[in-house]
Symmetry: none
Subunit: 297 residues, 2 copies
């Protein structure tokens, strides 16, 4: 099997099932493997997750963009989630046998094609960003669809591809490559959320902790336990075992233990292997060691 | 898709790359899916792993046996791993859509064919064993190639198939069906093999340690380190983390540390998940959490 890239386009329709179905039907014809479709009526937004090799995923992403431009009119769009385009953002994530650099290239190929063929201004973001202030999506999206008709006139906000004019019904779009994001939570054997908050502060980047870690303390009613709730923005540079062991160390300081940890959503196999390699001192532990991976490939 | 059976013949050549290559070339022509070839020059042994359906895997196993008999002369064989045959042991493991009973039948078909066509005495072992004392491979292998010329005269050690005489250059072979076996080694930061031997004794079932663990102490020339060399016969009941932590604990008693651990061959994904679940206190860690497994499903 060839490389695997994940693509997670967000389109600005979360209510009209006919529109969503048409987008998905068109996508399916490109040969990608569809993993998930999550529509949120309040956000009025649908998050589509699919995978494929370079050619397929590129075709799939373009097809979603094209369908969204044809079927969604942002002038009528209302929802709680900020948005700037009919297809709002298209992230690519390298999963297997592809580097971040190659994934950035892939995102640029799509950005160029969307700009030329669909006549939408395209902003490269995340790892693909051409300027520092375009790395974070909220920076680009600021002002949203309605504000972009002015924002685009600022030379600092000239698009990376496509026309220098906002598409009248489809707005603008952000396209880029990023690392897989792991949503990882650790429960403590205490109800005291202030302890979880202190631990979160010690581990998160914004307070001087580990790079690539966002963290906050929460109280989880359902379990009756405090939780350190985290986003691991780069699991290769901030591996799960290190996050776990630091949380454990800081928890001990307050006489508290870790009850259990959990994932929200999915994680790549490499995140698991890297962490077990630490514990078992197993430098050569890779997916090559796993019989299922050998059989399916 | 039809059934998947794994076959892991061990041949007594781990140095001469020409011989190993010829065996693998012949095997490839049978249409099996080759998963791994691990040669160990110190053991002077190669572990070959392949999968296929009943017909293919049977043909592959017979071809490896035939090639080994033709190319390997045990009279000249030296290595740190005990051995009794040019093809020393041929295990079959049910992976998918096949029962253990059917896998036992498959092993008997191969055993009969090897006995008749290659004129080698064949001992059925593990789940295929016809007597209690033939279940454990070390029992059969005791005395090794050199000792078998006497051992075979004992009516208790009459082979299950093939002639009642040891093959002059290829010895004898064990064939059988078993559960997935993990060959797991742990290196210590010492050259003192007696420490590895003491640790092996503390962890293996035969000396009163963990059930489903076979272990011995070895000195690995290549690394200049002592090694606890283990077979995990049931990774569900004797998980890797427990094996690792007990070895670590016993090593500390002698002022010795674990340098690294390694696998010979492959392991099932579940073995990895079960161990990481222990370290990260992650009770819900399953293959459902892994994006690659969603992709291959």
């Amino acid at each position: 099997m060839s490389e695997i890239i994940e693509c997670i386009p967000n389109v600005s329709e979360g209510k009209n099932q006919d529109v969503i179905n048409k987008i998905i039907e068109n996508l399916k014809q490109t040969g990608v493997k569809l993993l998930d479709v999550s529509s949120d009526p309040d956000h009025n937004r649908t998050v589509i997750t699919f995978v494929g090799d370079r050619t397929t995923v590129l075709e799939g992403a373009f097809t979603v963009a094209k369908s969204a431009v044809e079927l969604i009119d942002l002038r009528n769009h209302k929802g709680t989630h900020p948005r700037m385009g009919a297809v709002d953002v298209i992230p690519f994530v390298p999963i297997k046998r592809i580097t971040m650099e190659e994934t950035v290239e892939l995102s640029k190929t799509l950005a160029k094609r969307i700009g030329e063929e669909l006549k939408i201004p395209v902003y490269l973001y995340a790892e693909s960003a051409t300027k520092e202030e375009r790395k974070a999506l909220p920076n680009i999206r600021q002002g949203e669809f309605e504000g972009f008709f002015e924002k685009i006139k600022d030379p600092n906000w000239a698009p990376d591809f496509g026309p220098n004019e906002v598409h009248p019904t489809a707005g603008v779009v952000a396209v880029g490559a990023r690392e897989f994001l792991i949503a990882y939570n650790i429960y403590l054997n205490t109800k005291d959320v202030s302890i979880a908050e202190k631990i979160a502060k010690s581990i998160r980047e914004s307070s001087g902790g580990l790079r690539f870690i966002q963290a906050k303390g929460m109280y989880i009613e359902e379990k009756g336990l405090a939780q350190v709730s985290m986003n691991v923005l780069n699991y290769k540079k901030a591996p799960l075992y290190r996050v776990f062991e630091i949380v454990k160390m800081e928890a001990e300081r307050y006489g508290v233990n870790i009850v259990e940890s959990e994932l929200v959503g999915l994680m790549p196999l490499k995140a698991i292997l890297d962490s077990l390699a630490f514990y078992l001192r197993f430098p050569k532990l890779t997916s090559e060691s796993i019989i299922e991976m050998k059989i399916y490939e």
